[in-house]
């Protein structure tokens, strides 16, 4: 493990104005009494590789669902590229076309082929006839082939999704999201069930796509080590609160939280999670 040096630097967080995601005092609840998230303030720069880390039930998946409009906060404001995420909001509905979302279960359609699953990402760009009869235009097929080779699935285009291995399924889900020509990629613990080697292959794939397409990747993790390895910034969620936001610059971890978190607590959290 790398030796990590901690520095407190609260003033660092509000420098850039190019915020793709902004959350202000966001609270959410599944019922009227229990809050899944409390007092969340987040702002994410365009083009960042962002990670959200926390244990099961901490509210990290809920945080992702707020970002693609699948959930609405009970109070507080959220802006995605200066638009409020809400399925009824026409402007946001158009934006959803370019927000890739990979749930923990991946959400692949099992009984259709790899190519068709990936083409789902292009559906908003197709007309009725093309999508009903699966008459995909040449340029989209070309784009799909390019992405298929990028994620390493060449030769498996015609396989049914249920026939694939766990790693391959993740590649399909990533390809589907990339096919959306996304500006934001949201991924919910998609590598936590994989073995060490495969998990890193998948993470490298996303990191490469993120750099190449200049997208903002927001990934939820269970494993702090993995998050620190790949992300520029890591938010730690515990019992619905954002307790920590750290930035990773080379071997240095910078604490962005203005609160009175101390280095020992961060390390403690880090150790807790990496043991699992």
């Amino acid at each position: 493990m790398k030796q990590i040096q901690m520095t407190q630097n609260p003033s660092f967080s509000l420098i850039s104005t190019n915020k793709i995601i902004q959350m202000n005092n966001v609270w959410t609840s599944y019922d009227s009494k229990n809050f899944a998230l409390e007092e969340i303030n987040l702002s994410i720069d365009r083009g960042t590789n962002y990670a959200i880390v926390g244990q099961s039930g901490s509210g990290k998946s809920t945080l992702l669902k707020l970002m693609n409009g699948m959930m609405i906060p009970s109070s507080g404001t959220i802006k995605i590229d200066y638009v409020t995420p809400n399925m009824d909001n026409k402007k946001f509905k158009k934006m959803m076309h370019t927000i890739g979302y990979i749930p923990q279960s991946l959400g692949l359609v099992k009984n259709i082929t790899v190519l068709e699953n990936i083409m789902i990402g292009a559906l908003p760009r197709l007309n009725k006839i093309q999508s009903m009869f699966k008459q995909f235009p040449e340029n989209e097929i070309k784009e799909a082939k390019r992405i298929i080779s990028l994620v390493g699935l060449t030769g498996k285009e015609e396989r049914k999704a249920y026939m694939l291995s766990g790693g391959e399924k993740r590649r399909v889900a990533i390809a589907r999201a990339l096919m959306q020509k996304p500006t934001i990629l949201l991924a919910d613990e998609i590598v936590s069930e994989l073995d060490h080697v495969t998990a890193r292959e998948i993470m490298n794939l996303i990191a490469e796509a993120q750099k190449r397409m200049n997208l903002t990747a927001i990934m939820v993790h269970h494993d702090m080590q993995l998050a620190l390895e790949y992300a520029n910034r890591v938010a730690v969620i515990k019992e619905g609160h954002k307790i920590l936001e750290i930035g990773v610059e080379g071997d240095t971890i910078v604490d962005f939280q203005t609160g009175d978190m101390n280095t020992d607590e961060i390390m403690e959290m880090y150790d807790d999670d990496s043991k699992k």
């Binding site: 693609n68 409009g69 699948m70 509905k93 158009k94 934006m95 959803m96 076309h97 927000i99 979302y101 990979i102 749930p103 279960s105 991946l106 959400g107 692949l108 359609v109 099992k110 009984n111 259709i112 068709e116 789902i120 990402g121 559906l123 908003p124 009725k128 999508s131 009903m132 049914k160 999704a161 249920y162 026939m163 766990g166 399924k169 889900a173 959306q180």
Partner: protein, 261 residues
């Protein structure tokens, strides 16, 4: 066995006795009637093989009726099932469609046959229409139930891209519920062959027309030929559908299990 269970069983037995009294269901009469069955069976054993070609032809007609009814009924049922699924529509759409389907299912196919005989006259066409109605009611119900049982994860993931409802149906709903559909169609065809065999009773064509007529004229030996053909055909169709099911459906179910992990 708890005292509570004993009371429940006691009540059920008492209800059966009371209801039997009300409907004149008398076991003694059943015992007394057994010798009559022997007479019928004896006469049935006088099978008249020269009627076999007629019986086979009538059975073929019956199967064709069931086939048309199943195919057309399913074709009508599918769009209706999409409208009746709660996870695809608002209450204002699915509630009336469900009510309509429930109303269709209320009548057994033989009642539909009577209605269509009045409408289009005696003959096989009335029978086909009856089978269509019955199939619409049932396949639509089975199908909207399997649509509602689709895994919500792909539905959510694909909806979050902001695709249209038609695209969602085409790329998620149809593929994910199709494996159930094949098994439902097979079941329905199997069932429709049996149903069509009795529609002749009300003049709606098919092999049942012969059976009821021979029975009416106490020609049990001739009726037996036709009943035997029905029996063999139904067993054969059952066997074929088990084979098809094993080949196509078990495989895809297995695939689902693998992906569930």
């Amino acid at each position: 066995m708890t005292p509570k269970n004993n009371i429940v069983i006691g009540i059920i037995v008492a209800l059966v006795v009371v209801a039997s009294y009300n409907v004149d269901a008398n076991p003694i009469e059943f015992a007394e009637g057994l010798p009559n069955l022997a007479i019928v069976l004896e006469e049935m054993l006088l099978v008249e093989p020269k009627y076999i070609p007629t019986a086979l032809w009538a059975m073929f007609e019956t199967i064709q009726m069931a086939f048309i009814g199943t195919v057309v009924g399913t074709a009508i049922a599918l769009p209706l099932s999409m409208l009746a699924a709660r996870n695809l529509n608002s209450k204002y759409v699915y509630a009336p469609v469900r009510a309509l389907l429930a109303a269709i299912r209320t009548f057994p196919s033989i009642l539909w046959a009577i209605l269509f005989v009045i409408m289009v006259g005696l003959g096989t066409f009335a029978g086909v229409l009856a089978i269509v109605m019955y199939t619409v009611g049932f396949v639509a119900k089975l199908q909207y139930e399997s649509i509602e049982a689709i895994d919500s994860d792909p539905m959510d993931a694909v909806s979050s891209i902001g695709v249209s409802k038609w695209q969602l149906i085409r790329y998620v709903v149809i593929p994910e519920s199709a494996s159930h559909l094949l098994s439902q169609i097979l079941y329905m065809f199997d069932y429709n062959v049996r149903q069509t065999s009795i529609l002749g009773l009300v003049g709606a064509g098919g092999i049942g027309f012969y059976i009821i007529n021979y029975i009416k004229f106490f020609e049990y030996g001739k009726a037996a030929v036709f009943m035997l053909v029905v029996l063999v055909t139904v067993l054969f169709i059952d066997w074929v559908s088990v084979k098809i099911r094993d080949k196509y459906i078990i495989k895809s179910q297995h695939g689902m299990e693998v992906t569930a992990k």
